[in-house]
């Protein structure tokens, strides 16, 4: 018998702006010991479906249909009866582990709470069981962790704690709603590995909800593809990935960037680069340190080394990809280059001019030549300004004396170029989707026809299908206007698609810098290798056959030993001491690698 059988499940929301039909009469089942994946983009209703199934829907939602847990009907079940199933037989883990854990309770207490409520264990028994589960989930120093508070743990550790909480009672079904979306890719790989182990060791069925086909490919047995509240396709994993039938599924697979296949048919590729083109930008030993106040009667300050000695050059027409996980300093680097954030040391030379030596007025005039596209399309547009006004802003401030009709003409022209209807010039950002707003962001960055654009995670907040469109747009604009790009992203697959050269950052320092193919096919630094190995490939056979390269836990950036994580042999065991700075060595022409201990 299936563990969970869903039939004709229908979810509607009653909002002041009208009724929303989130889930349209869907049905599926989860079998014993299997992992079922539900994949869909934002707005597909996949999360709402599961919240409705276990009775956690918001108050304005209406559930209809049937959800059978081992034959027992859950829809409409009384709260206290539902509570016997929830948390012990069917458990759930959520996307954001920081806000999903109670901040004022110790982690251990939160874990033991489930055990004591559902299995009536005594404190001692619960403690022992909790420790045992922590070992299962590979959390070292379990006893110490139990006494900590959620905010004292890293993101990956918190998610592991959530998994412990969800598996301590040995549930039949674990529902995971985007469990790795807010985690770094290396941490994501570890969490997926843990989930795979749990499935085999405990025989727990897993329902995995995700928008990422690569994640689905790594642990699922069967897949349901969801769009707009309905399933468009379902089947065993090999069918879905190798023989997709529905056009939406095919579109999803097609749009997803693959780290092992940079060239996708029907999509743009970067224009060929000539390394003899003039140098636009030279960054030399850039450092950005923020003083962090430490406790004590007389406050002391410790430097947070967000960027700690980064150097590179950028040629005309070149795209430099900058990759790294959270805390590596890539966004800070971008802002420091554009002088939006003050730097602590280093030089930035633009077309031969040292930006530090420029007067305020001259610097302002120079801004015409470099622009930036931000990550969050809605946050980077002033909600009180029309999109026309937002796009025209750089024009108005940097091209003095330009008259109204000219401005409108140029904005209209730009709107057309980015694929938006010029008639929408007086609309407001909240009337558009994320993808359309990001096109507005592109238009704003392009309107002055700059020589360089920095894309700071410009596509990370978008659905995969939209992401592909925006990447194509940026590449085609680059082909037309010939500007250089600094493409910052944590997603190595996308970076491979657009870059000529790639720079890998870790805790503010450069680990490896080389041309695209060398990085992806011939990585030398252990961090680069681990990073590349961790990226999930939307191909089940390849994904599961991949070797797993473990990474040490991300150290605190305030700890001076952090910079020598890969060169432990030269490390002085004192968190405050001045440490050796690993040098960049040119192992092949144009291929630089930071010193590291041999693996």
């Amino acid at each position: 018998m299936a563990v969970l059988t869903v039939k004709d499940l229908d979810v509607k929301f009653h909002t002041p702006d009208g009724d929303v039909h989130a889930v349209k009469t869907v049905g599926f089942d989860v079998r014993e010991g299997e992992c079922l994946g539900v994949v869909g983009e934002s707005g597909s209703g996949k999360s709402q479906m599961m919240l409705a199934a276990i009775g956690l829907l918001a108050r304005n939602g209406r559930t209809a249909g049937s959800v059978l847990y081992r034959g027992k009907e859950l829809v409409g079940l009384a709260q206290h009866k539902l509570n016997q199933v929830r948390g012990s037989k069917i458990t759930m883990i959520f996307q954001d582990p920081l806000t999903s854990l109670t901040p004022h309770m110790r982690v251990g207490d939160q874990i033991m709470e489930s055990l004591r409520t559902h299995q009536k264990m005594s404190r001692k028994e619960a403690y022992a069981q909790a420790l045992a589960t922590m070992e299962l989930v590979r959390i070292p120093e379990g006893a110490r962790r139990m006494r900590q508070y959620p905010h004292e743990l890293s993101g990956g550790m918190r998610q592991r704690v959530m998994i412990v909480m969800a598996t301590a009672c040995k549930p039949d079904l674990l529902i995971a709603d985007e469990p790795t979306t807010s985690l770094d890719v290396t941490v994501q790989a570890q969490i997926l590995e843990i989930m795979r182990e749990l499935k085999s060791k405990l025989g727990t069925s897993i329902l995995l909800i995700s928008h990422d086909m690569g994640v689905i490919a790594s642990i699922c047995d069967r897949v349901q593809v969801m769009r707009d509240g309905e399933f468009v396709e379902a089947g065993p994993i090999e069918d879905i990935f190798y023989r997709p039938k529905h056009p939406y599924t095919r579109m999803l697979l097609d749009a997803m960037p693959r780290i092992d296949r940079p060239k996708r048919p029907g999509h743009a590729v970067p224009a060929p680069m000539d390394r003899h083109r003039p140098v636009l930008l030279t960054v030399e030993n850039m450092k950005v340190h923020f003083p962090i106040r430490m406790g004590g009667f007389i406050p002391k300050y410790k430097p947070l080394r967000a960027v700690d000695g980064v150097s590179f050059t950028l040629h005309e027409g070149e795209t430099l990809g900058v990759v790294g996980e959270s805390g590596c300093g890539k966004s800070t680097l971008a802002r420091a280059i554009l002088k939006l954030v003050p730097k602590t040391a280093g030089t930035v030379v633009w077309c031969g001019r040292d930006l530090d030596r420029e007067s305020r007025e001259e610097l302002r005039a120079l801004r015409k030549e470099f622009q930036i596209i931000f990550q969050d399309p809605l946050a980077s547009l002033d909600p009180r300004m029309t999109i026309g006004e937002s796009i025209a802003e750089p024009l108005r401030s940097l091209e003095a004396g330009i008259d109204k009709t000219k401005i409108e003409a140029r904005v209209g022209e730009m709107l057309k170029k980015v694929g938006l209807d010029p008639a929408w010039i007086n609309r407001y950002p909240h009337e558009f989707s994320g993808g359309q707003n990001q096109r507005v962001g592109v238009a704003r960055a392009m309107i002055l026809k700059p020589k360089m654009i920095i894309c700071d995670e410009a596509v990370s907040a978008l659905d995969v299908s939209i992401q592909a469109q925006i990447v194509d747009l940026i590449l085609s604009l680059q082909k037309e206007f010939g500007m250089s790009l600094i493409f910052i992203s944590h997603d190595l697959s996308v970076v491979r698609q657009v870059s000529h050269r790639v720079m890998v950052l870790y805790l503010g320092r450069v680990m490896e810098l080389a041309d695209c193919d060398s990085i992806y096919q011939d990585a030398r630094h252990p961090y680069t290798k681990a990073l590349i190995a961790a990226v999930p490939i939307p191909d089940p056979k390849l994904e599961r056959a991949k070797p797993k390269i473990p990474l040490p836990e991300l150290p605190s950036p305030l700890d001076t030993r952090a910079g020598l994580t890969f060169l432990k042999s030269k490390q002085i065991d004192d968190p405050d001491a001045e440490q050796y700075v690993p040098q960049l060595i040119e192992v092949a022409p144009g291929h630089f690698v930071a010193e590291h201990d041999p693996v």
Binding site: P16, K368, D376, M385, E431
Partner: protein, 311 residues
């Protein structure tokens, strides 16, 4: 836990027909007018305001006309007893302890109380916005120092100083406005500073800086329009607090002086007459309570309209 609207669909539905966009203000206005309590409050408030403005035209009596033959008479439509009161004219709210018409006095009281409310709030708005915006925009050490100062002042029951001031300067009318306004500017400053800080950190401000917009330009075009919302809400909620503060002072004998009158004065007079002539307290108290209710409903409505939370 909001359901996510598939907004691609929504965008497709907006065909190129209407070029005019739907600004956030339009949205807010629509939401406000759907709030029944707020709409009713606006209507009631408007009526009271009109009555206050046209007070002299609405009654044959003036507010200081004392008719000692008609002392403490109940309203016309509630004449209970004495023949003494039958002789009187149209006293719709009755008369007070010295025979003045209560209806006119209530309306004149409305004038004064509403005026104090608006002017004192204006004072607090001016001081608070300037202070808060400066602190928020400059940031850093100066901001910290400025906010420390606010914290210091915040920890006092300011009304004590107002009382001292009123005593010291002999109940100066202008001083009343300034003093009461000075009580409320602290919270206004805090709100404005908080908003300024949070907007300063938003990405669209960074984008503006990358586009070369000057600091002044950023303040004018980005910060001010985005701060207006919460400020308007708070102003609507400050006015009733100010009216209350004025009535408080008047009750203690330190506010509006004779022969002018405000609701606070009327209520304090009425409180002493409560046993034998309850209407003297009832009508001004009713008017004041209703006005305060209306402002609160409108303020809440504005807050929900400008920043709709998930329910």
């Amino acid at each position: 836990m909001t359901p996510i609207l598939p907004s691609e669909r929504a965008a497709l539905m907006n065909r190129a027909q209407n070029i005019k966009g739907r600004s956030l203000w339009t949205d807010a206005r629509r939401r406000l007018f759907r709030n029944r309590a707020a709409v009713v409050s606006l209507a009631v408030l408007g009526t009271i305001a009109l009555m206050a403005i046209f007070a002299p035209l609405l009654s044959p009596y003036t507010y200081e006309e004392a008719d000692f033959s008609l002392v403490s008479c109940a309203p016309d439509w509630w004449r209970m007893e004495t023949a003494r009161c039958q002789a009187g004219g149209a006293h719709w709210f009755g008369t007070d302890a010295v025979g003045r018409d209560l209806f006119v006095r209530t309306l004149f009281g409305a004038r004064v109380s509403l005026a104090v409310g608006l002017v004192a709030t204006g004072v607090s708005l001016l001081i608070g916005v300037t202070y808060g915006a400066t602190a928020g925009f400059i940031g850093g050490r100066i901001d910290e120092a400025m906010m420390r100062f606010v914290d210091v002042l915040y920890s006092l029951p300011f009304i004590f100083f107002v009382i001292i001031l009123m005593v010291v300067f002999n109940r100066n009318f202008i001083l009343l406005f300034v003093a009461i306004g000075a009580v409320e500017w602290l919270t206004m400053a805090r709100i404005v500073r908080g908003q300024t800080l949070s907007i300063k950190q938003k990405e669209f401000v960074e984008a503006a800086r990358a586009a070369g917009v000057s600091s002044f330009g950023i303040i004018r075009r980005h910060i001010v329009p985005n701060v207006v919302g919460p400020v308007v809400v708070y102003v609507t909620l400050t006015i009733p607090a100010v009216i209350l503060a004025e009535s408080f002072l008047s009750f203690l004998g330190l506010g509006i002086q004779e022969p002018m009158t405000s609701w606070g004065v009327l209520i304090s007079e009425g409180a002493t007459q409560m046993e034998n002539a309850p209407w003297i307290l009832a009508f001004p108290a009713l008017f004041m309570a209703v006005t305060l209710f209306c402002f609160n409903f409108i303020g809440d409505g504005l807050r929900d309209a400008l920043d709709p939370q998930d329910q």
